[in-house]
Subunit: 219 residues, 2 copies
DNA sequence: CACAATCTGAACTTGCCGGTTCAATTTTCC
DNA sequence: GGAAAATTGAACCGGCAAGTTCAGATTGTG
């Protein structure tokens, strides 16, 4: 396979040959699946969106199901990486815990309210009956991973005397719940863009009650 | 030919005439839609599930879309009523706030983890693109309604000196978030039955941090 | 320039389902 | 008992999309 030649996107013009068609197909597949759902998404539309002919799609990914699986997995991995990067920011700040949590909470909410994030969760919900294994993969590489990473940070903050979290994983779970819970009703399942001001406000509220419950002054 | 008296299930003799076919059709529709999603659910299967012929379905509800809408609306109303009944239990108990919140939280989680509740949320997520108005209706008669009812109870408890919630709606939102948030990862979108013990534990944890943040001792 | 592999556009087969029609039967109501 | 309304089974139409096939265009390589 000569997919090697300049896989790093030399520019814009799509060279009619075989370059990184595969990635383009996966991206287009996620977009179209997000638009119509699995059942009504036709492969022709995916091919068109990717600037590719239909047989080419079937050449790279044998059928619609594997196409869906690979597209979902790629999207989940990307979202997970972004969220982990945000959580890792909680390492340095040791002084002002509230400010650090505010910022991390805000950025987590930004990722949470991204169009592709909403689409990913929507598709997981929608097709859980047809692809039961996908939810295991997504939760393992998704929610659980982030909860654990956040629990690590909480444990460090607790040892440093900045928090009083006796159960780091429980505290992490509840912090995430306080962040994402109030968004469900505001974002209308992703159909309504939430202004940054509102994200900041929700993050502040979440951090406020989190610190009231797990703040330094608590036993 | 007549499908003959008592073709099946001697328990409840099916009165072949027009009785409450409509309700049977709506129930069957929700079941089948939950099973296959809107796109792949065929009306023939709904008719069979309801013990009815296909033209009868189209006789009561003109097409597949209105059938879906009515089925979803009925399911949402039922779920809302059940949740409101639970929240209303928070009226009498004035003494032991923690015990009352524990019980209400547990029962709310039970409703939240019901199969039909999960199916309802799944379908809302899945078909939000095709039925954008459904989410408004569901949220208005669902989440918002319950949040407001709970906020009412919180306000009463605050005035009675049992809580220190300066913002009742925010407190209610966060209480619900603390309850339902940790369930997402545990219930696998409803594909995994969560034992009662776990529901109790999650409710206790939610009430614990809620009372730490909004308990009587707080300002 | 020629060879091999791939990509492309289009047409085709196959299967499924929404929605309708219709004659025969059943139920309800008077 | 009898008429009106509803139900039933079955067949039919129309449309849509998955997946395949095929000849011809394009690309990379020696």
């Amino acid at each position: 396979m000569n997919t090697a030649t300049s896989s790093a996107a030399p520019g814009q013009h799509v060279p009619r040959g075989r370059i990184d068609k595969r990635q383009a197909i996966l991206d287009a597949a996620f977009t179209v699946f997000a638009r119509h759902g699995f059942a009504l998404a036709c492969v022709q539309e995916i091919a068109t969106e990717a600037g590719v002919a239909k047989p080419t799609v079937y050449n790279h990914l044998h059928d619609k199901e594997t196409l869906f699986r690979h597209a979902m997995e790629a999207a989940a991995n990307r979202a997970m990486a972004e969220n982990l990067a945000v959580v890792d920011q909680l390492t340095d700040h040791g002084a002002d815990v509230r400010a650090a949590l505010d910022e991390v909470g805000y950025q987590l909410l930004q990722r949470h309210c991204d169009d592709r994030s909403w689409a990913l969760r929507r598709l997981l919900n929608a097709e859980v009956n047809r692809f039961p294994d996908l939810i295991d993969i997504a939760h393992a590489t998704g929610a659980n991973r982030i909860t654990q990473a956040l629990a690590d940070r909480v444990a460090r903050l607790t040892l440093a005397g900045h928090l009083a979290a006796t159960e780091p994983v429980e505290a992490a779970e509840q912090f995430l719940a306080l962040l994402t819970g109030p968004m469900e009703s505001r974002a209308r399942l992703g159909t309504r863009p939430v202004p940054d001001r509102e994200l900041r406000a929700v993050a502040r509220a979440a951090v406020r009650t989190f610190l009231r419950a797990y703040g330094e002054g608590r036993a």
